[in-house]
């Protein structure tokens, strides 16, 4: 593959674009990156950064963003295509997905022209990794109860508070911060979004150990941190509507490759089982046919939600609460699958081949990590509430004697 292939040729769309993505990935995926291959070695942060920056140059990130901000100016259809192709390979999860998929779209929607030019190129070039500072110790499901306060001090903002479960905070240069500018009683009103620098004096990150052993999420202490006025995103009372948009993205379009990656996991499971006589006999016997087939169906349902989202968004519609349907489904389906994979692979006999042991290790990690999927981006209980209240429109119970 010659050097030119590292860049996106102009004017590609649809299936031509897919061919480019395939060829690019075939030529550029670094050795050891793929989690379903025997030579897999989990890459470190620097390797992930370099890889994602290369993906951007190759036209596989910032796909729909205007060229003026470092994007490629294509449509969501190409975004979907790239995600399908990326998902098919067991590539490492993005270390800047919060930047590319939550902060970026929000900046494009409510940021000033100057902000777009300032934030977006470094984000795509992986010079700035973003994290999402929404949740607080006392504001998880009840996000509108957050207390981190931003007060105007002359030309700047002064912020005090504490965030928790902030994914990627230990590696981040910027935080998409949701803070309160009005009184706590105002709940949804008087919230503002900021692009807080993580190296600002007064920002302290304390990594938290996750149950899968990783230190990916963290607590972020914010003590009298000065945020310049030009790092405020949108109007001081626009925070909640922007946050709701972030959550809709998080539930519906974030990690659009999910269904295809899930499919890669399913195929990896089956291949790993076939490598081992005991496991091969188990999956051939029919005992697991139903659950394997249900996984195939579950994956198609995710696709059935994702693919039309693209057309709807392109037609100018918003996804709104429907994101809850998909979020609830993929998180539960993926947990079912992870438990199935664990059950199967844990029946591998001692001394199984290295590929089988590697699959065992991958799916043990997946089983643990999947427990978080019904918690983050709105818990299962919250999604069920949204479906009942806002999609089904169930009547609220009225107090007796009330009006």
């Amino acid at each position: 593959m010659d050097q030119d292939q590292a860049f996106l040729p102009p004017g590609l769309a649809g299936e031509e674009y897919r061919a480019h993505v395939r060829a690019w990935l075939a030529a550029h995926v670094p050795a050891g990156f793929l989690a379903d291959q025997a030579d897999h070695q989990a890459p470190d942060l620097d390797a992930c950064r370099a890889w994602e920056a290369a993906m951007h140059r190759g036209g596989l990130a910032g796909i729909t963003w205007p060229q003026a901000y470092g994007g490629h100016g294509l449509t969501l259809r190409e975004h979907l295509i790239a995600n399908q192709e990326i998902g098919r390979l067991a590539l490492p999860e993005s270390v800047n997905s919060l930047g590319k998929e939550l902060a970026g779209p929000i900046i494009l929607a409510i940021g000033s022209e100057e902000q777009k030019r300032r934030y977006l190129p470094p984000l795509l070039e992986m010079r700035e990794i973003w994290c999402q500072g929404f949740s607080e110790p006392n504001a998880g499901s009840d996000l509108a109860g957050l207390r981190t306060r931003a007060t105007r001090d002359g030309s700047v903002w002064r912020v005090n508070g504490r965030k928790i479960w902030t994914s990627g905070a230990p590696n981040a240069q910027r935080c998409l911060l949701l803070a309160r500018t009005g009184p706590i009683e105002d709940r949804h009103r008087g919230l503002a979004l900021f692009a807080m620098r993580m190296d600002a004096p007064g920002v302290t990150v304390r990594p938290l150990r996750q149950m899968d052993g990783r230190e990916h999420f963290a607590e972020v202490f914010i003590d009298d941190v000065v945020i310049e006025a030009d790092d405020a995103l949108g109007a001081p009372d626009q925070g909640w509507s922007a946050a709701v948009r972030v959550l809709a993205i998080e539930r519906a379009t974030n990690r659009m490759y999910r269904a295809w990656r899930f499919e890669n996991e399913l195929h990896h499971l089956v291949r790993a089982c076939r490598l081992d006589a005991t496991l091969a006999a188990l999956i051939e016997s029919g005992t697991y046919h139903r659950r394997l087939a249900e996984t195939v169906v579950d994956i198609d349902i995710i696709k059935a939600y994702v693919e039309p989202v693209v057309e709807r968004l392109m037609a100018g519609e918003s996804i709104g609460d429907r994101g809850s349907l998909m979020k609830l489904h993929w998180s539960e389906a993926h947990q079912r699958f992870a438990a199935l994979a664990l059950e199967l692979l844990e029946q591998a006999p001692p001394g199984a081949a290295p590929e089988v042991q590697a699959a065992r290790a991958r799916f043990q990690r997946l089983y643990l990590a999947a427990r978080a999927e019904t918690i983050y981006a709105g818990t299962t209980e919250i999604q069920l509430g949204i479906i009942g209240d806002r999609i089904l429109g169930l009547p609220r119970e009225r107090a007796r004697g009330g009006r």
Partner: protein, 332 residues
Amino acid sequence: MSATMEHRDGIAAFAETARQAVASCAAKPVRDRASQLAGDGLLGILAPESAGGLDLGLDFAVPVMEAAGAGLLGFPLAETLLLGAAFGATPFGPAIVLGERVATIAWAGRVRTASGRVSGTVGRAPLADQADLLLVATETGAVLVARDAPGVTLQPAIGLDLEAPEHEVVLDAVAPLATLDAARFATLREDALLLRAAEIGGSAQRCLALALEHVSTREQFGRTLVSFQALRHALARQKLAVEHIGAALERHAALAASGAGEARHAARTAYAAATRFGIAAIESALQLHGGMGFTWEVDVHRHLRRARTAEAQGDAAGLHRRLAQDLLTANA
């Protein structure tokens, strides 16, 4: 006092001793845990008196295993209880019961025997790296080998359990110390199912208590979480799971006490129920903790890892297949 009441009091006393012993084990290295548990008279419950044991039935070991589960004991307790009994007539019995030798079992795989020596790869041996003695399955039962015998190599663990990590062990022409015939080894495996059911039950109880405490103290939307019906139902289901396991264990105890042949079957179904309902309860308890449940510091994930390991060590998947096969055979 009636015989049953005495029996019950005896079991309750074991439960209390076990809770305290497990708690004081937490800060100790594995070897000192052996002495602590032995000193409290907990390692010889099933072993014959000649080996320094108490020669009691499995139902006396149940509360001890529940306490071990609830307290995340990092010790091969089920293995020790079973091996102390199985080798009670040999010099290894007293050494195990007194906590002088740490013993474990490789629950998966079997070795081949040639000219009196065993070779092969076995797995799922909890804390094999800390053990002196290891039981491995053979074509004709099982053999006890010394962990440091020539020809024994340990592989690093890749399992889920953090308290008693599992190892694979490669044996190359290892000379056995003692043997167990097929029938006694089969009994040992069946008994292990019941002990694991109790351990998972203890974990599920503990996780329910943790979840209940969490949602009773945490407020969101201006209310304590426990006031939300969805969470009350989730807790009720966790309780249901705990009760299922408790009822199955008690049914086994009653059948065993009356010498009924069904006791074996009841041990299997108790274990199968513990893996199905107990693990679901633990997963639900984790969910009720929200983000907190995904942290290393909250113990729920440790219970989940253990319970999943107990599910694999007892081959719950294979057991379910055998239960179905029995049903088909009965109606052939």
